[in-house]
């Protein structure tokens, strides 16, 4: 089976509210999959269903081939989870938390000691192994959660906003670790608000809004296919009325951005030809011309505001 996750019609209701509404998607083995959406869109509910914390009202989810409802223990055995809120035992030490997780996954004593030591060294917590969790900084707690999620050497790792609230250095360190894990073949399912993070790390992303999947694709393709967000940025040697540029074929919208003019279009190549003709006709001099794809953030905002499928 080449899929790590197969979700089919997954639905969760909380009273009247449909938190997750018949979503379906697949994640390939070894993929770095991003799950984006605004607050309350259904990201955490989805991840909690996929990790067997809560049961779906409808639909099915297979994780590494195991049905998360019917073969819950087997599915959980092969996954690692970094939840949204730090939930290590604050009265236990770093080491005790790690060993406790190892025991819950049935890892033999010597093996869990070996893995625990290696993980703590790798994530820079070895010196703090005898510290109680309540005395750790947020970044350290997050690294501990990652250690706890990795103690069973999972085939798939679920992370719910792992870099939220971390300083730049800690966030970067977590991202580097995730990248290395993914290079080693671990499938990663990541929810994040950070577009740059999703852009850098993910092979594919899904955008969820109001409990429904608004789009799934690679970040680059999402940016390219998102019509109306592609634009050509030009600047001329003389002031040019926006109204006349707005009349050019293929222009959807015109905005002045500093010294430049941004022309939104569905077809940047065709528009460039018309801009060149316009320059000749008006006897202008072209100072700069740049074809720009939208940022992932623009795509995301467009998707969650318009609820459109690209």
């Amino acid at each position: 089976m080449s899929e790590a996750i197969v979700v089919s019609n997954l639905t969760k209701r909380f009273g009247e509210l449909v938190a997750v509404d018949h979503i379906s998607f697949k994640v390939k083995r070894g993929e770095f999959f991003g799950f984006l959406g605004p607050n309350g869109a259904g990201k955490t509910t989805t991840i909690r269903m996929l990790t067997g914390v809560i049961k779906p009202d409808e639909g099915t989810a297979l994780v590494m081939g195991y049905d998360i409802e019917r073969e819950s223990i087997k599915a959980k055995q092969v996954m690692g989870i970094v939840p949204e809120t730090a939930n290590a035992y604050i009265d236990l030490t770093v080491w005790q938390n790690l060993m406790f997780m190892g025991e819950l996954y049935g890892i033999p004593k010597e093996e869990r000691k070996r893995r625990g030591e290696s993980l703590l060294r790798e994530l820079g917590l070895y010196d703090r192994r005898d510290f109680k969790v309540k005395g750790l900084s947020k970044g350290m707690k997050q690294r501990l959660l990652l250690c706890m999620a990795l103690i069973n050497e999972p085939e798939i790792l679920f992370l719910d906003e792992p870099t939220v609230g971390l300083d730049v250095r800690s966030a970067r360190s977590i991202r580097e670790i995730l990248q290395k894990l993914n290079e080693k073949g671990v499938t990663i399912f990541l929810t994040t608000h950070n577009m740059e993070e999703a852009n850098q790390l993910c092979n594919r992303i899904a955008v969820i809004n109001h409990g429904k999947i608004a789009a799934i694709d690679t970040p680059e393709r999402l940016k390219r296919v998102m019509k109306g967000l592609q634009h050509v940025e030009v600047s001329f040697d003389k002031p040019t009325p926006l109204e006349s540029l707005a009349k050019l074929p293929y222009v959807n919208d015109v905005r002045k951005i500093g010294n430049s003019i941004r022309l939104y279009t569905d077809s940047p190549c065709d528009l460039v030809c018309y801009i060149v003709d316009y320059v000749r006709e008006k006897k202008l001099k072209l100072i700069s011309l740049e074809v720009l794809n939208p940022k992932l953030e623009d795509v995301y905002l467009k998707l969650i505001e318009g609820g459109k499928q690209p």
């Binding site: 909690r48 990790t51 067997g52 914390v53 809560i54 049961k55 223990i73 087997k74 959980k76 055995q77 989870i81 939840p83 809120t85 939930n87 290590a88 035992y89 604050i90 009265d91 236990l92 005790q96 406790f100 997780m101 025991e103 819950l104 996954y105 049935g106 706890m148």
Partner: protein, 245 residues
């Protein structure tokens, strides 16, 4: 099955470290039943071999049922329950782990009143049966406490209040302070619904040599209560878990 039992043992060790292995908890476990008992005993003329089984019963009942009710609401609040639920361990194993920790706590602290009894001259006539009673009684009261902790609250105080409301009346109907033989029929019928009755009766049978029921019957009834509480608590926790998460 064995794997799940090992994981339940991991939960048990974690509970002992976090919830039981603390000075105030241990002191409370010893002192509360002792003070309750002294409040009743002082000024009354009763033989030690009647008093000590009652004190032993109260001690076992209160210690084995003292901490378990706090664990689920506390872990709900701290979000650590979510961590347990996302691990490859069944609800039954989580509950069993909580109960095992309580069994260890209840049985070990109840040795204190037993040693006091031995020190003041109470003779144990059937030590094997008493040891079995310790284990089964402790398991029974711990399971009872697990049952009380099943409402889906994240406020330990709420569960503690509910737990006290149930526990204290049980002490007064269980023949701890008044011999069952001296109770009227309705009193005995009332006493028969409390598992503590059978533990105290068993302890009296093993210490003073006479009891209302044969000690083996007490042990069997206690075991039935224990199993009933254990399975009922698993069912109720399975039902309440979605509301906690």
């Amino acid at each position: 099955m064995i794997e799940q039992a090992k994981r339940a043992f991991a939960i048990c060790k974690k509970d002992i470290r976090i919830y039981y292995f603390k000075g105030p908890v241990v002191i409370f476990g010893v002192l509360l039943p002792l003070f309750l008992f002294l409040a009743f005993w002082i000024g009354r003329d009763m033989p030690p071999n009647f008093l000590i089984p009652g004190m032993l019963g109260m001690s076992m009942f209160f210690t084995a049922s003292s901490v378990v009710p706090v664990i689920p609401p506390w872990e709900t609040r701290m979000k650590t329950l979510e961590r347990l639920v996302s691990a490859p361990i069944s609800i039954a194993s989580i509950i069993l782990g909580d109960i095992l920790a309580s069994v260890v706590f209840g049985a070990s602290l109840s040795i204190v009143p037993l040693l006091i009894g031995v020190a003041i001259g109470v003779r144990i006539t059937n030590i094997e049966m008493l040891a079995l009673g310790f284990l089964v009684g402790s398991f029974c009261f711990s399971s009872f406490a697990a049952l009380l902790s099943s409402p889906p609250s994240d406020t330990p105080a709420t569960i503690m209040m509910l737990s006290s409301l149930v526990k204290f009346p049980l002490v007064f109907i269980s023949g701890v302070f008044i011999p069952l033989e001296k109770l009227q029929l309705w009193g005995r019928m009332l006493a028969s619904i409390s598992p503590l009755t059978y533990f105290v009766d068993l302890a009296r049978g093993c210490m003073q040599g006479s009891s209302l029921y044969p000690p083996l019957l007490d042990l069997i009834i206690l075991a039935c209560f224990a199993l009933g509480f254990f399975f009922a608590s698993i069912k109720l926790h399975e039902r309440s878990l979605p509301k906690r998460l």
